[in-house]
Amino acid sequence: MHDQPTTAIFYRLGSFALVMLGLAVTIFVLARVVPGDPARLALGPAATAEQVNALRHEMGLDQPLVVQFFSYVGRAIRGDFGYSLVSQRPVIVDLKETVPATLELVITSVVFMFIVAVPLGVVTARYRGRWIDLVGRILSLTGVTIPSFLFAITLQLVFARLFPSFPILGRLDHGLGFSSGPTGFLLIDGTLAGRFDVVADALKHLALPAFALAMAGIGQITRITRSAMLENQRKDHVLTLRSFGVPERVIVFRYLLKLSAIAPLTIMGLEFASLIGNAFVVEMIFSWGGFASYGLNAILQKDLNAVIAVVLVSGLFFVAANLVVDILITLIDPRLRHRGSR
């Protein structure tokens, strides 16, 4: 019919490219404006002025800012983010090692969020005002208000005390003798290698940090799902189905849920930024060795190439997550596919 989902998606792709460009300009300028000479920092106080100048020339820091920017973008697109001053390796190599760890954590926690929050939102809306609603609402309020680092430390302490054998640090038990494979995702690499003991152990390691990270989102999404369900169940179309005797479970889990999924999905896209932010802290607490802790180190050490790369990759995550959300919402809601309609 008049469906044009592809046009809408291309339009969004274009606008997201613009967002990325804007982000690149901002972070690049910021990184050059902050005080402190990266060349001096890299060489240490003992280096002579000639040595520093030589390095500055080598790093291109003596070029005009615009030239620096475009040559940087040109290289970045090819995957060259320059050398990390701290690790003394190309930044891209560091990213390849650390990004999968973070992605694995973040994706697991998003899955957690939806598995826990959506049913909780549906149930609290369905039994509004009963005890289960109260419990759910207290739970979601707790999730929203408690900072994730506090939650992470609490989880660690409680598990260390009650289940001493449960892993509270790292991604994998070193005793298994498994180092990451082609993708860097332990769950995928473990499955590919047929090492299901690795997969099980990785899941055990993932549980606590992913849950700590998901907690804030669980609170948000429960609340949003609940209010969307409450709003939609008063609509005429629900009464219509009810008056024809369509069972309540079908009305709730089929008709209402799909319609009410739009709001939490939108929120998820926006929440993704704070999810990445929280990952910085949670990774530190659980010694995750992911890209967030790498970024944190880079910031503390003023490792400019690494900082810029980390910010760009975070931005890319955010933009990609929102693109996925937009595509999902467009698939759910046919009205968004009609261009030119009101």
Binding site: L239, T240, D333, P334
Partner: protein, 548 residues
């Protein structure tokens, strides 16, 4: 009465809100014979919809039935088990909801709704139908409601169908299991006049062909005359009168019924009011007005070459159905949107003086901010023209007097006011900055008939007292017949006919005008005979024109 299909006796229903119990139905009793058509009429809050919900079993959770009996073919449905009660839905009685636009879940295809309704009704009644069999029956039903391409309709999303089409699908939904009683809640009222008429004809024909009984819930007495054999009049949860339609229309026994009948605006005959023609100078001059929305392939030509004069002191009506461009014209006169071409002059100057024109919107329930008291609502326009202190307070008094509301109402909030009172506040707000021209956007459409009359009377008095000029936009020609001094009929962005109401109704020239007038439901046979005659092909032509 022998073998009633549905027999309601002594029904008492209460609603409990915040611990307070309120009776909404008091000793309601009536019966419907097989294939009889009964109308339940009454205004907002009369309990007519609650009665329908009690019958079907979809009362809200805070409702309790404290007494009475609802018998279907002699069996009390209130004492049935939950499952048996559920099994009656769609098979014994089916409900057609009022607003077809919101009656479908926007993220599911039309066919999904139909299939689910059919599947679960089948299952409850122990019928085994495969998906293909269901699809066949659904297509059959959609053809019965005159949707010629059932496959296309089933695959469509609700937002892709016009209001009239969605209304037809809703009726089809109700027919799926050949119910014995069809309950129709204000069928078609949310749609345009011509579509509404068409829907009513369709319901009438289906009821007759399928041998169903009909319980018609409506506030429109014209609809009652057309589609009911017997009438039950309700008022504040009580039944005030029951009787054959003809008798009720001619010699109502209850005073309330009489007041309802009196409030219906007449179209023809001695009860019609003719507004005098204005001899004033043109205050608004509109020439060759055009409005285009959108760009390139999405371009929509909303207003085409519209010209008219608004003379001082007159009431000019722009009549048309949704999408005819009447609202766009009003917005341009208000200066809310610029014309794409053409000129609007107010008192010889280009439009744009916001103080000269003000607007009263259709629904005071949404046009008033619920968090602002009447005083705050009225103060805003006064403050914007720099009025303060004692002058402002005096002006507030004056405004309240103008719209005949007591001064004490200044402290009230919208939810404490009735629909009519809210509309009075909206009128007072529009008058605050002393405009010369008032634009009335369906000013009575959201109100009950009896209240409509009081608002119209108030507007007429205000016109004389303040020397105002009105531009009213509406789809309700029966209202405009008695209220306007001139009417222009709009179709697809153009004015197709313009004239004095009496002439327009007596000898409509354009076929669309004829179609519009003939579609208005009237309350007496005499008026029915005076309506212009429209051929079936003509009617179809404009029905398509209006929905597309």
């Amino acid at each position: 009465m022998a073998a009633a299909l549905l027999d309601v006796q002594g029904l008492d229903v209460f609603f409990t809100t915040y611990g307070r119990k309120r009776q909404v139905l008091r000793d309601v009793g009536f019966s419907i014979a097989p294939s009889e058509r009964v109308a339940l009429i009454g205004e907002t809050g009369s309990g007519k919809s609650v009665t329908a919900k009690a019958i079907i079993g979809t009362l809200p959770n805070n409702a309790t039935i404290d007494g009475g009996r609802i018998a279907l073919e002699g069996e009390d449905v209130l004492s049935l088990s939950r499952d048996r009660r559920e099994a009656l839905k769609g098979t014994a009685f089916s409900l057609i909801m009022q607003d077809p636009l919101s009656s479908f879940n926007p993220v599911f295809r039309i066919g999904t709704h139909l299939d689910d309704v059919m599947r679960f009704a089948d299952r409850r009644n122990g019928i085994r139908n495969g998906k293909a069999a269901r699809r066949k029956r659904i297509a059959e039903v959609l053809r019965r409601v005159q949707l010629s391409e059932p496959e296309r309709v089933m695959n469509a999303w609700p937002s892709e169908l016009s209001g009239g089409m969605r209304q037809r699908v809703l009726i089809g939904l109700a027919l799926l299991h050949r119910p014995r009683l069809l309950i129709a809640d204000e069928p078609g009222t949310a749609l345009d006049v011509t579509t509404q008429d068409e829907i009513l004809n369709l319901v009438n024909r289906l009821v007759e062909e399928e041998g169903m009984a009909l319980l018609l819930i409506t506030h429109n007495l014209g609809v009652v005359r057309k589609a009911a054999d017997r009438v039950v009049v309700m008022h504040h949860g009580d039944i005030v009168e029951t009787g054959p339609t003809e008798r009720i229309m001619k010699e109502p026994a209850a005073a309330y019924t009489l007041s309802l009948l009196d409030a219906v605006p007449a179209l023809f005959g001695p009860k019609v009011t003719d507004q005098p023609e204005s001899r004033g100078v043109p205050i608004v001059t509109i020439r060759n007005l055009d409005k285009l929305y959108g760009r390139r392939q999405h371009r929509f030509h909303a207003v085409k070459n519209v010209s008219f004069d608004l003379r001082k002191g007159e009431i000019f009506g722009l009549a048309g159905e949704s999408g005819s461009g009447k609202t766009s014209v009003a917005r341009m006169v208000m200066g809310l949107t610029p014309p794409s071409a053409g000129t609007i002059e107010i008192d010889g100057k280009a439009a744009g003086d916001r103080r000269a024109t003000q607007i009263v919107y259709q629904n005071p329930g949404t046009s008033l901010n619920p968090r602002r008291s009447v005083e705050q609502t009225l103060t805003l326009p006064l403050a914007s023209i720099g009025m303060r202190g004692a002058a402002r307070s005096a002006r507030l008094d004056e405004l309240m007097q103008l719209v005949r509301l007591p001064r004490s109402y200044l402290g009230k909030y919208p939810h404490e006011l009735s629909g009519g009172q809210k509309q009075r506040v909206a009128i007072a707000r529009a008058l605050a900055a002393e405009p010369r021209i008032l634009i009335l956007d369906e000013p009575t459409a959201a109100l009950d008939v009896s209240v409509q009359k009081t608002i119209i009377d108030l507007l007429l008095q205000l016109r004389d007292e303040l020397g105002l000029t009105y531009l009213i936009i509406s789809h309700d020609l029966s209202l405009m017949r008695n209220f306007c001094s001139r009417i222009a009929i709009m179709l697809r962005g153009e004015i197709v006919e313009e004239g004095r109401p009496a002439e327009l109704f007596a000898e409509p020239e354009h076929p669309y005008t004829r179609a519009l007038i003939s579609a208005i439901p009237v309350v007496s046979d005499d008026e029915e005979h005076l309506k212009p005659k429209v051929t079936e092909t003509e009617r179809q032509r404009f029905l398509v024109a209006a929905t597309q």
